[in-house]
Symmetry: C2
Subunit: 412 residues, 2 copies
Amino acid sequence: MPGPSTYFDPSRIGELDPGERDLVARRARVLGSAYRLFYREPVQLVRGLGTRVWDAAGTEYLDAYNNVPSVGHSHPRVAEAIAKQAATLITHTRYLSAGVVRYSEQLLATLHPDIDNIMYTCTGSEANDLALRIAKLVTGGTGVIVTSNAYHGVTTEVAAISPSLGGVESIAGWVRLVDPADLGRQVPAALAEFSAAGIRPAALIADTIFASDGVLPDVADLGTAVAAVRAAGGLFIADEVQPGFGRLGQGMWGFDRYGIVPDMVTVGKPMGNGQPIAAVMTRHDLVDEFNRHSRYFNTFGGSSVSIAAAQATFDVLRDEELIESARLMGQYLKTALTNMGKFVEVRGAGLFIGAQLESEARAVDVVNALRDRHVLVSASGPANDTLKIRPPLPFSTADATLLLTELDAVLR
Amino acid sequence: MPGPSTYFDPSRIGELDPGERDLVARRARVLGSAYRLFYREPVQLVRGLGTRVWDAAGTEYLDAYNNVPSVGHSHPRVAEAIAKQAATLITHTRYLSAGVVRYSEQLLATLHPDIDNIMYTCTGSEANDLALRIAKLVTGGTGVIVTSNAYHGVTTEVAAISPSLGGVESIAGWVRLVDPADLGRQVPAALAEFSAAGIRPAALIADTIFASDGVLPDVADLGTAVAAVRAAGGLFIADEVQPGFGRLGQGMWGFDRYGIVPDMVTVGKPMGNGQPIAAVMTRHDLVDEFNRHSRYFNTFGGSSVSIAAAQATFDVLRDEELIESARLMGQYLKTALTNMGKFVEVRGAGLFIGAQLESEARAVDVVNALRDRHVLVSASGPANDTLKIRPPLPFSTADATLLLTELDAVLR
């Protein structure tokens, strides 16, 4: 998660032009202090198409940051699917509907056949929350292992396993943190700690691109760690909210790169290209066991418009060959960034790239300087020193040239 | 929450016609055992307009149940607002946007001026979860008081305060249940229990129409209970997810009928007429204090399309005078249902009506018989013996006549 300095500082409101100043002041009054604005100088977006967005003054920006509009801003097929369904019917899953069944079949077909059930929510937070509920009920355990700067969402339950959100002091007593660079030793050690404390393990949960840990595409010993958790009676939850749906350029899912079959997979952000839809996918035996203890119904989860958006997004991802595109363009960008010779390290897979600079101050300056040159990126990592480059997937060579040109100018 | 028998029994799948049987079987395979279908014979909805919906065979149904499409199914103004925004831009609140500021100002203007901040989520569950997070952080307490058959959502945190979801055994140790018929005595008793157990109270939370408690429009001593909770250092959270946005026919909010100013208000279901949008509204001093302890960002919360849908819904509610319509039509329906002389009791406010029958079995039979006559309602209450009549707000006199005629035929 970016540190405060990639955000607008409310005390500098006097420096904004009058129209913007008024809107920022009104926004602060109603949305309150928990809401922040990106960049030293906020951007007021009013329109988007593909990899480009425009502000209120008509200035065009290259979006090299937003992973939610994954098949491109305002994609006409997705927009049309949403428009058509909103004018026809919006309802929930307790009426029979062919659309949700058809989409679920297609999505589950991208996973190992053992993962045969899907439960819809509206956000990745809700999906991770539900996955933990299921894991705790079916294992009878409470212990959860996460990485040291993990982010899994904002409900009470998942905020308690997200050190990057509220710091280590916000983490629950039933959570153990492990360094993603040392999983092979630290996961067994965490399990031993659980055992000593009389805590039964429920799950290891990991974002398979380890985004908030600094974008780590090739974590060692993930398979060993998963095996150790399973041997101790726990489950492995792959949090695919960020890496999922082809962003990493190799298959649909981040865990595909490790040859692991998770017990549960959670998805969200890019699933409906901006429409609020997310899900848990898991084995039917786990769902059946959960169902013996509890119930679940999410009014908006898998509703007609959300499914229409998800289906169109899924179709575009396939028809426009965006996974292969992410692989090629990601490789090109990573090589070009490395060859610039200005980064401590360039890491990533597909179109999820972390380019580490020497300090947070430097990263924040670069993020803001790029914004002033109309290129949108952000910073991430435990030290907030890593540029997070994570554009919509239809990122073209012209887009890459523009990004590299502006970045080169800024880094000089 | 309705008991199992208002739902389709999967073991009776052989009785369905072949096309439906195939879809139900495929649905069960992918959605799994936690998903249920309304009615002994499921309904496959494909289209809706106003208070009417149509199934795959073209049969028209009167919708006297769904409170989410509150200004009417597929309302053209809402559908157009969604379509236009989806084709223009879908993004989040960290870019400056006039739409979310304008809508927030209008919505907050319907509340007491002390309630001056809004935080967006996607579901009522997330809103109640966030309200509890804020309440616990700002009061330093953990104790929560809810009514004996309360329903507040499905995240781990709010499932733990929802006895109607998983039964009394699913309720957390920091929760006390109170009978809504005896708040004046039981709330102080619960506070005394907290005190004896060394638990500091965080909040009393109540759905102000007490829907899952059987639809109770005039609960005694709510004001006294709120005062007792505040005196003990706790807050009052009004859960307006079901009663809010004018459904009760008297002002925008359920608590308006009690002359109470809550510390927090949570909203959801009808807010975007089906688009997944929900929120917490509260005082800025509580948000500021929360913000000193934690952070909150919800990627899809208050995103461009959700705000466009909410603004259009808000505008239609006002322009079509639907609150006054709910008041008039609710009064008419309640009187007519009472005069039928077939109910143990008819309760409600506006277009949220509970018509209690002598048993669950009777209520379930009536719900299914109405479905067979193409009128959609459900059952509710602690004993699941109460018909829940909760139609879209543009319910006309012709709709009322149809409902009453079919109900009369079924009850004979």
